[in-house]
Amino acid sequence: MSSGASLYALQRLVEQLKLEAGVERIKVSQAAAELQQYCMQNACKDALLVGVPAGSNPFREPRSCALL
């Protein structure tokens, strides 16, 4: 019974590994270049990276204090 279960599990593992082995891959140099390109293209919109004009980040705006 237990050997039946591990047989099944192993069969599934082998099938899964065959699937993963068959994945199409590209070179790291190409993948890295594209990750970098995405960063560069979107850097100007990234408020945490480049900051935004004073007043347009709602969290950085000074909060008004009411003097009672």
């Binding site: 192993l10 699937l19 993963e20 070179k27 560069m40 990234d46 408020a47 980040n57």
Partner: protein, 353 residues
Amino acid sequence: MATDGLHENETLATLKSEAESLKGKLEEERAKLHDVELHQVAERVEALGQFVMKTRRTLKGHGNKVLCMDWCKDKRRIVSSSQDGKVIVWDSFTTNKEHAVTMPCTWVMACAYAPSGCAIACGGLDNKCSVYPLTFDKNESMAAKKKSVAMHTNYLSACSFTNSDMQILTASGDGTCALWDVESGQLLQSFHGHGADVLCLDLAPSETGNTFVSGGCDKKSMVWDMRSGQCVQAFETHESDVNSVRYYPSGDAFASGSDDATCRLYDLRADREVAIYSKESIIFGASSVDFSLSGRLLFAGYNDYTINVWDVLKGARVSILFGHENRVSTLRVSPDGTAFCSGSWDHTLRVWA
């Protein structure tokens, strides 16, 4: 009989060696394309300057450890959940609490905001994921409208709505992930493959298609096809539990944070780990990671109470943020990237910008 037993043992042995040789072949294939490191490609990119990031808001109100948080698409509301069973919806601009509900269980480890902003989902030790419509009607109690959607056989560790309020993806201590229809509570797809508790999940950015990534106590990160339930890629390079996974904004990669004190970046098209974010001085686990809008920065919350900010391309740490007085358990960048929020075992949430 006796001969059957022998035959089965042979088959087991054959399968085992086939599995081993396939694993070896997978590593070989991956290694063939490993022609360069990410930080080498990024050498000519300008280094980042000094960062001034401070706590701009502190959200106080939870009575115990904050375990999870999520932003609303409106970029200002936040839902958070705690060990004391409370789930609170905050307006992060004013720090006002807009809604609060007490769950019937403690350790609400997962919470999520619906894309419409009209509901939240949460769960934890109750093994369920429940959806609460948000109502401003003072006569209606949130708890009355609660809808139980997901049922697991162990704790709920993570949940996320898909592109609409209609479907929820869950991850559980029972080792599986599952996709549910919110209206009917029906199980649409289940995802089996992790060898231990699944601790986290993240949906691919909508343009990239129907996949999600999960991380677990089996040290693996797995990428799944939501329609077929199949695991399409798996990565096992962390040396301990994977606590947090988050897609790179383009959808071509994802980062993970682990109890092994490192964060790692995996490129999906190269099918391998392409960067490790670590330092000898960082010895506590990373509980939670998220990218800035462009993907250049990786924010990671750690069990040593700090948040480290990493240059994703160059692999270097660019900033450490202090402020929390206990473990950072959860961290998300706001939908428009103007701020990020961290939650901690010190009972508070902080919004940084």
